[in-house]
């Protein structure tokens, strides 16, 4: 009887559907109530001439230290500006870019974002997702960044991002390792001397390796090598290669030699630490490796390994180099979402974050040594810049490449992966340097033709 009762059936269906709709729309109703609340407040504010209440979103990635410093700064800004609420959205680096692109494409990206400048190619040329901060120069003070450095930070002549910190290529040393094998800490390496000393070290102790490098890190190191050899961008602005087959054979021979002659830890074990810094590599922690390559901004991460005597050194230099090759640039840049509802409030917050002494102190060197003069002064006076980081930065700046900034196409992710794949294959002994060079050139030229 119940089975055939249409009214009951109808009611059950209505109930089910309505419960479903309530379930689905709960977030909507939340937004509506917030909006009505906000509009209520703004009507209040208009009568008492207080600034309109705004909520800004700020996204970044980073380790705990950076997260805490940034959240403290946000907290302070909200105290100083009670009408502004800032929501911090932070996560691990892994997956950050994928999420960011999805947010930008879906129109739900935060108002301020901390990104790396190599993403400009995707985020500005393909679609104008990021605002030109040059339009807000009345609010954001760019004069605090040294002019010649700021010039290297422009993209297509525009000020897309405000550089957060400075960084450069550096060799990180294990000083105890150097002492053990009688290597002078002030050695200016050449590409050949690395191999000579590395062989001696391994002969003395078969468990010890002078270098700790994987394909991803070798990508950065070889680009320095390439600039020293050629004085060119990796890929020139006209989408042709910035090196010849012979140049690449020299570079890949270096790769082959460091693995074949046991100068670097074998790839088969180094490759297991691809995304994490090599400081997590047990061989590094046990003091069985002497040198690794990193950006200066990662020195604090290495300093976290307890009872470790760290030093720094400049990158290898070849005789008769055409360019010193060492990369220097910004650690991160702060950018503004072009679609932000509150561009001026966003610009104000951004300016405070990079130029206000209080914010500078709160943020410390969690995004590298600040790129602004005021930042360096404030942190220098307060002794907040680590001497080792400062030394590393000075070394990098001393040998800084003149072929900077790297153009967008040289930084393209797909081309970079083609390069690291070849490095991997040469490192594993699957390809000779000659074969690797030939394959790399064919693959890059093919891809570049598609991209053109």
């Amino acid at each position: 009887m119940k089975r055939k009762h249409p009214v009951l059936k109808f009611m059950v269906i209505i109930l089910l559907i309505s419960s479903l709709m309530i379930g689905c729309s709960s977030t909507n109703s939340g937004t509506v109530s917030r909006e009505s609340n906000e509009s209520g407040e703004s009507s209040n504010t208009s009568s008492s001439s207080q600034p309109e209440k705004v909520t800004l979103r700020f996204s970044w990635w980073g380790a705990q230290e950076r997260n805490k410093a940034t959240l403290d700064a946000i907290e302070r800004y909200m105290e100083l500006n009670p009408h502004v609420t800032i929501q911090g959205e932070y996560m691990d680096y892994s997956g950050f870019y994928e999420k960011l692109v999805a947010q930008l494409a879906g129109g739900t990206a935060p108002d301020v974002m901390a990104i790396v400048d190599r993403w400009y190619f995707d985020l500005v040329t393909q679609n104008e997702f990021l605002a030109d901060l040059g339009e807000y120069e009345n609010i954001i003070d760019f004069s605090t960044v040294p002019e010649n450095f700021m010039e290297t930070q422009l993209f297509n002549g525009k000020k897309i991002g405000f550089p957060a910190g400075l960084q450069g290529d550096v060799l990180i040393y294990n000083n105890d390792f150097f002492e053990k094998y009688n290597i002078p800490a002030d050695t200016q390496w050449t590409w050949d001397s690395l191999i000579e000393v590395g062989k001696k070290v391994h002969d003395e102790d078969p468990n010890a390796y002078l270098l700790s490098l994987d394909a991803a890190e070798l990508n950065f190191v070889l680009r320095v090598y390439q600039k020293q050899l050629t004085g060119n961008q990796f890929i020139k602005d006209d989408y042709t290669l910035g090196f010849t087959k012979e140049d690449m054979i020299k570079m890949l021979t270096f790769v082959r030699d460091i693995f074949e002659q046991n100068v670097a830890e074998p790839l088969a074990s180094a490759v297991l630490y691809p995304d994490v810094s090599q400081h997590e590599n047990p061989k590094w922690r046990n003091g069985e490796m002497g040198i690794t390559h990193k950006y200066t901004s990662l020195i604090p991460v290495y300093q976290q390994v307890e009872n470790f005597n760290l030093g720094v050194g400049a990158l290898p230099l070849m005789e008769g180099f055409k360019d010193p090759g060492t990369f220097t640039g910004s650690t991160l840049v702060y950018v503004m979402n072009k679609g932000t509802e509150y561009p001026e409030e966003t610009a104000k917050f951004l300016n405070w974050l990079v130029n206000d002494p209080e914010a500078i102190k709160l943020m410390g060197t969690t995004r590298g040594v600040p790129a602004t003069k005021v930042g360096q002064e404030v942190l220098g006076e307060a002794n907040l810049i680590d001497p080792l980081v400062q030394k590393a930065l000075d070394l990098a700046l001393e040998n800084s490449s003149k072929v900077l900034p790297d153009n967008a196409i040289s930084q393209n992710q797909e081309l970079t992966i083609i390069f690291t794949d070849i490095i991997d294959q040469v490192g594993f002994g699957e390809l000779t340097p000659e074969q690797g060079s030939e394959q790399l050139i064919a693959l890059l030229e093919d891809k570049l033709a598609q991209m053109k």
Partner: protein, 314 residues
């Protein structure tokens, strides 16, 4: 009876007052009942499926509007993509190693768990547990640590004076290591085998015993033939799953070292979310879909030669 006629009568009178939608067409009522699922299916499954088919014919970077390019993506994968053939080979190797290994393990464990032991239900639950955890990223990370150079597996080997092996770092071994890890998730197949074993009539074994068949002969001549329909089902399901395996390989090796574990699914991910070539990634996905369908059809077709049904499979 009389009561029922009355009820039916009142039902009809009341029904007239209800909208025709409810009373007139019973199909609508059914549709309303399944509407939560139906809406979900249409919006969250069918639409993305069809959209991805469309995108596979476009140049779509997520950052720009899709631009129709015809068959370009499909031609490109066969002619220009240097990773494509390597990835196809790796994926087939993976399927050929992982699926039989998993099914054999599942069958062996099912045979063990089919014994009349004390606390047998406890053991059955314990052996099923990995299938609940196994898909998770956390477990994949754990495997990674176990198989690292300084990991537990090598430590155990060194205790018996076997030199350490680069389980995940050596391009010649990494895929086999991953396949071994994958076997751990045999639970679902095992449960099905166990159910199949329970279905085999006891009198077949009795007849076998009378004819003098030993345990191994019984297994090959009775158990296995009687299980073939379940083997077919497990084979099809596990093959489909193996083609789509992503989480563990991605977390553990990311396709490395030197692209030796670069499964098709990881290549799709890289193209979609690393290079943002969404159109190309969609085309690759559709190719994989076609490959899976073809292979499944082949398995079904071949089953007529090796799968036995008591009713002759009709």
């Amino acid at each position: 009876m009389n009561n029922r006629t009355q009820t039916q009568h009142s039902y009809k009178t009341r029904a007239k007052r209800l909208p025709k939608l409810i009373s007139g067409n019973r199909q609508w009522v059914g549709l309303l009942y399944i509407s939560p699922w139906l809406i979900g299916f249409l919006i969250l499954e069918l639409y993305p499926l069809m959209a991805s088919l469309y995108y596979s014919f476009t140049d779509f970077t997520l950052l720009r509007k899709p631009e129709f390019v015809g068959l370009k993506n499909y031609i490109q994968m066969f002619t220009k993509d240097h990773n494509f053939w390597n990835s196809v080979v790796v994926t087939f190797k993976w399927v050929i190693i992982a699926v039989p290994l998993k099914l054999t393990t599942a069958l062996l464990v099912a045979l063990l768990l089919n014994k009349k032991l004390k606390h047998i239900n406890f053991y059955r639950t314990v052996y099923y547990l990995p299938s609940i955890f196994a898909g998770s990223v956390a477990v994949a990370i754990l495997w990674r640590f176990l198989f690292m150079r300084e990991g537990l597996v090598n430590q155990i080997l060194s205790a018996v004076h076997i030199p350490p092996v680069d389980w995940l770092g050596n391009p010649d071994i990494a895929l086999y290591t991953l396949s071994m890890i994958n076997v751990w998730q045999f639970g679902t197949s095992m449960v099905l085998f166990l159910a199949g074993l329970k279905q085999i009539p006891g009198d077949l074994y009795e007849a076998g015993r009378i004819d003098g068949a030993n345990k191994i002969q019984q297994f090959w001549s009775i158990t296995l033939p009687m299980l073939t329909p379940i083997v077919l089902f497990n084979l099809v399901m596990q093959t489909i799953n193996a083609f789509q395996d992503f989480t563990a390989p991605f977390v553990i090796t990311k396709g490395g070292p030197a692209k030796s574990t670069y499964l098709f699914s990881i290549m799709i991910y890289d193209n979609g979310f690393k290079y943002f070539s969404m159109g190309y990634a969609a085309a690759l996905s559709w190719l994989m879909f076609a490959a899976i369908i073809t292979l499944t059809a082949v398995l079904f077709w071949s089953s007529r030669y090796w799968a036995h049904y008591e009713d002759g499979g009709k």
